[in-house]
């Protein structure tokens, strides 16, 4: 299994276009943010202190959530490609357990997700600091890194389930384009959740990846909020949170970090089970 995972990693990182396309959604977010989204979102809040630090942290948190989806999906593309190219025949004709084979793809997707997220985090932090913000504190940094593992696990399981349906590279390509496009909306990165219509907000709230985003936003915005919202009343902060998808509002109750962790774990468990069920059914 380890040898297979290593092989998949090598193939993924040597395929420059696979790496690029798995990061495409991220590049789009950065470009949109740099061009106009940043101004739109912060419009009317220019007077708030440390608003750049606050909003930069918000966008990097969103990117971390998106990258956990697109990078794992990209890595799982190797599985689809092996099936389409019949390379998989060479593996099934070897004394290699089916579990090790599937495990190799999953382990690789997880590793790719974590590696890409960590790189994004480092670049993001450099960007935040260069733009006048501060580095994450030790505690928050560890929380974010822990969150990366959880969010990759949860998003990766979802992607594994999706990928289990595809046999051709065409279908996979289309799916990754759709996912890459929608993910920015579904996690409220392109447009803050509060600005979306009521119905769409409902979708965002039930989409598990939104809780990865919520987790990263909560943790990463703690420091800038302490400055920006210093002395502000609780309800102002809460309104700001639900507006930007830092937390979600259910009948006046705010979700917490614990809820995010629970949702991520639950999504991982559900989609892992479903994928194992699908992959083992196909073995016949």
């Amino acid at each position: 299994m380890r040898a297979m995972a290593k092989r998949n990693l090598k193939i993924f990182f040597r395929d420059k276009s696979a790496v690029f396309f798995s990061l495409l959604a991220v590049f789009i977010i950065i470009a949109l943010y740099a061009v106009f989204l940043g101004d739109t979102i912060t419009g009317g809040m220019e007077s708030v202190t440390e608003i750049d630090f606050l909003m930069n942290s918000w966008i990097i948190a969103g990117i971390l959530a998106v990258i956990s989806v697109t990078s794992t999906l990209g890595a799982l593309g190797i599985m689809v490609e092996d099936r389409a190219n019949k390379v998989i025949k060479d593996f099934t004709a070897s004394p290699l357990g089916r579990g090790s084979l599937a495990g190799g793809y999953i382990l690789c997707a997880f590793a790719v997700g974590v590696i890409m997220s960590l790189i994004a985090l480092v670049i993001g932090e450099v960007f935040i600091v260069c733009a006048g913000g501060k580095l994450l504190s030790m505690g928050n940094m560890l929380a974010v890194i822990g969150g990366i593992f959880l969010s990759v696990l949860s998003s990766g399981s979802m992607m594994l389930f999706i990928v289990s349906f595809f046999k051709s590279q065409n279908a996979f390509g289309t799916a990754s384009t759709v996912v890459g496009t929608l993910i920015g909306f579904l996690t409220g990165v392109y447009i803050p959740v509060g600005s979306l219509p009521e119905a769409v907000q409902g979708i965002v709230k039930v989409f598990p990846v939104s809780y990865s985003a919520s987790f990263f936003r909560t943790v990463m915005m703690r420091q800038p909020e302490a400055v920006s919202f210093d002395g502000a009343p609780q309800n102002v902060l809460q309104e700001f949170h639900t507006e930007l998808g830092v937390t979600f509002d259910f009948d006046g109750k705010e979700t917490t970090v614990a809820v995010c962790v629970a949702v991520m774990l639950a999504a991982a468990a559900v989609f892992c089970t479903l994928s194992v069920w699908r992959l083992s059914k196909k073995r016949k």
Binding site: A3, K89, A93
Partner: protein, 304 residues
Amino acid sequence: MTKLIEAEGLKKSYGTIHAVRGIDLSVEKGTLFAFLGPNGAGKSTTIEILSAQTAPDAGTVRIGGHILGRDDMAIRAEIGIVFQDSVLDKLLTVRENLMLRGSFYGMKRSALENAAKAAAEAADVTDFLDRPYGKLSGGQRRRADIARALIHTPPLLFLDEPTTGLDPQTRRRVWETVRLLQKERGMTVFLTTHYMEEAAQADYIVIMDHGRILAGGTPAELKETYTRDILRIAPQKEEALAALLKRCGVRFQKTGGELVVRLKHTTDAIRILESCREEIAGFEVRRGTMDDVFLNITGTEVRD
């Protein structure tokens, strides 16, 4: 001689397509076994069954004491396969491909390195070991495929049309490699091909079409049974020779200014040539070829 492969009553259908309709096979240890048939005859499906890739709908297979369906992992560990398609990773170098595949057979690092080296030498790929597989030429890829199949020194090697699509020179080279391996290592080679000149060098040939085995035997046996030797005579004067042959009761055909006689026995040619010696400008006696065998066997079947 011991049997390495023994298969009985193999059947496999894909929906309404009956790819293999009940075949029996046995392959002796250390031989080169050629499996012949037109495209779509069911050769690849048979190989897939024998190499534990596809489960048959019916039938039993024994490979070196292992029973297919029960000891699949053990069978997989003892066979090497060269597939029709390229199945190595294009983005990895030949060495990386070999090392990865070798690890499937439970080899430790140092043993693996030696195995990769030995396989590379046997298949003659040492010159491009560190080049990405995707950048190799067709012939180089094929040799790399063979090296991969040899990484665990399997006693049984399956080759599914190993030379299809290669230029004649490369084809010969690949073929020589296979031949050498079989002779030097006593490896059993199970090969499908549609090149007759390759099949003619096998120890045993089985001809298959429409999912059934039509004939089997050594190349000499098959030629003996399914072909006639041919005598071609270039005449001095065509009419005179034709008349002479008719008088002797020899049946012939005219093609391209030559008279062609199909012989029961090669030595019959001597008697015929003696009797019309004066009228002969030139002659040729040609033994039946594998091409004739193949056409006679599969051609008849098609007409039925």
